[in-house]
């Protein structure tokens, strides 16, 4: 442990997180599941990165490996230039895992204090409670919390460590609107302190609003890595579905605001960068289009389209 308790946000090689050729395979019920297939990602100190992808993309397995909870089959995860376990043992990592409840019979404040006692330089408990805006549940026993309140208390537990790296796996999943707003407000405050933040999400909007960069994962691979706006353009913001037989896809793809067109029997699906322009163009050019639906981007579908061919290879 010696020499590892340095209270700096730096690392020997200047990197926050390095994932190199990271690979993990499980023996599933239906044969072998390649959860993570040789991914390479570097995250610089102070960056806020969203790990974006649908369920089953390999986000949680990646996070488990970078926290040292699972050993990769191949490749390596390094935190601050060292082993994940070393960074964790030095108290430099705070994390909120995807699943997990709190242990019972303590108040939220007591539990935060208990966890804080494990770290070399924790935040003050009252400061953490204020930062995460959980004053009203601080003196309640953990077993009396609702799902959303539990998530917020778990977030406080991750933050009290005062980490150089904060890792959050689908933090907002069980939260109501109010909790979500409070959560992201806290995240903004915390990011301003210069910590490195990695959060997994399957909401494109969250990546767009809160991350400097999004790493898009699907079927265990990184399929895109860049500013969230680029990712957003790639997967299309909205989709238009319509019944429109006999129209070639090329003429649909040439419509204004349409990034990609696809046929499903009688129907067509248009991925749009600008759905307002696209719907006008579509109706102007093909007045026969009917049963029209416009929906928000379905990431899961978009990912499958983006990656479908190679994923099944």
């Amino acid at each position: 442990m010696d020499g590892m308790v340095a209270a700096t946000k730096t690392s020997p090689d200047g990197t926050g997180i390095t994932l190199a050729g990271l690979t993990k395979t499980f023996a599933g019920e239906h044969g072998v599941v390649e959860a993570v297939r040789s991914i390479d990602v570097s995250i610089a100190l102070g960056e806020t990165v969203a790990l974006l992808g649908p369920n089953g993309a390999g986000k949680s397995t990646t996070i488990d490996m970078l926290l040292g909870l699972q050993e990769p089959d191949d490749g390596a995860a390094r935190l601050f230039g060292g082993e994940p376990r070393a960074a964790v043992a030095a108290g430099r990592v705070g994390a909120m895992l995807q699943t997990g409840q709190l242990i019972r019979d303590l108040t939220v404040r007591e539990l935060i204090s208990m966890v804080a006692s494990l770290y070399p330089r924790p935040l003050a408990v009252d400061e953490t409670i204020a930062l995460t805006r959980i004053e009203e549940i601080a003196d309640r026993r953990t077993q009396k919390l609702s799902g959303g309140e539990t998530q917020r208390a778990r977030f406080a537990i991750a933050l009290v460590s005062n980490p150089d790296l904060l890792v959050l796996d689908e933090p907002t999943v069980a939260m109501d609107v109010e909790s979500r707003r409070a959560f992201w407000a806290t995240m903004r405050d915390f990011a301003a302190r210069g910590s490195t933040i990695l959060f997994a999400t399957h909401y494109l909007e969250e990546a767009d609003a809160y991350a400097d960069r999004a790493v898009l994962m699907a079927h265990g691979r990184v399929v895109a890595d860049g500013p969230p706006t680029e990712i957003k353009a790639m997967v299309g913001q909205r989709r238009i579905r319509a019944t429109l037989p006999g129209v070639p896809l090329e003429s649909l793809e040439s419509l204004e605001g349409v990034t990609r067109a696809e046929r499903r029997g009688e129907s067509i699906v248009l991925a749009c960068s600008d759905s307002d322009a696209a719907i006008r163009a579509l109706l102007a050019r093909f007045p026969g289009a009917r049963d029209i639906e416009i929906s928000g981007a379905d990431l899961e579908d978009a990912f499958i389209e983006l990656t479908g061919a190679e994923a099944d290879a």
Binding site: S60, D64, L67, G68, L69, Q70, V88, A89, A90, G91, V93, G94, A95, L97, T99, G100, Q101, L102, I103, R104, D105, L106, E110, L111, S113, M114, V115, S117, L118, Y119, P120, R154, I157, S161
Partner: protein, 245 residues
Amino acid sequence: MTFTTYMRYEALRTLRNRRFMILALGFPLVIYFLIATPNRNEQDIGGTGISAPLYLMVGLVAFGTMNAMLGSGARIAAERTAGWNRQLRITPLSPRTYFRTKVLTGYMLAAMTMALLYAAGTALGVRLSASEWFQMTVLLLVGLIPFAALGILFGHLLTPDSIGPAIGGLTAALSILGGVWFPVTGHGILHDVALALPSYWLVQAAHVGVGGSGWGATGWIVLAAWTVGAAYLARRAYARDTKRA
């Protein structure tokens, strides 16, 4: 990193679990009063020259403390199911400190069990010399070490569903074979088996209070072997136990 703070909260949450406390502490006490009270004037139980309240007290002390130590397994299994173990794994908490906390919490409950049964025994007329109380207590505390390791081991191997019956069955078997209820006599296979069990030596420790001679070399060796074996397996089970629940 202040161990005392962490330990204090661990103890606090154990003491606050009312249902667990009532069962862990109350159960041996109730059995004791149920059996010992009607026989409180029996001064020569089974021709041993020992009074019934004393004989039953030492037996239940062995039983109750064994149960208290193994009970930490049930708490660990519940924490694992809640995913708390994975949460701890991403803190600087060392396995050493983790084990220390669990063992000390087990001892806290064992000590409370002892104190209650000693008081109950005294209320029913048990009188021992200060040195007998002392020797019995010290040997019991030492004899409980393998049970602390076994509790942690089971906690990391079993689920909350299965650990209740497992601990209940094990305690029952260990206490019968170890001589909690009836003295282990003769030289048959059962006797040989008993001699290899940690519970037998725990009962021998308690029997210091009824004029027993404590442990010879065999006792120390058996207890050391169980401690080393169970602690090794517990450490391995803990290290392996990082899967998502």
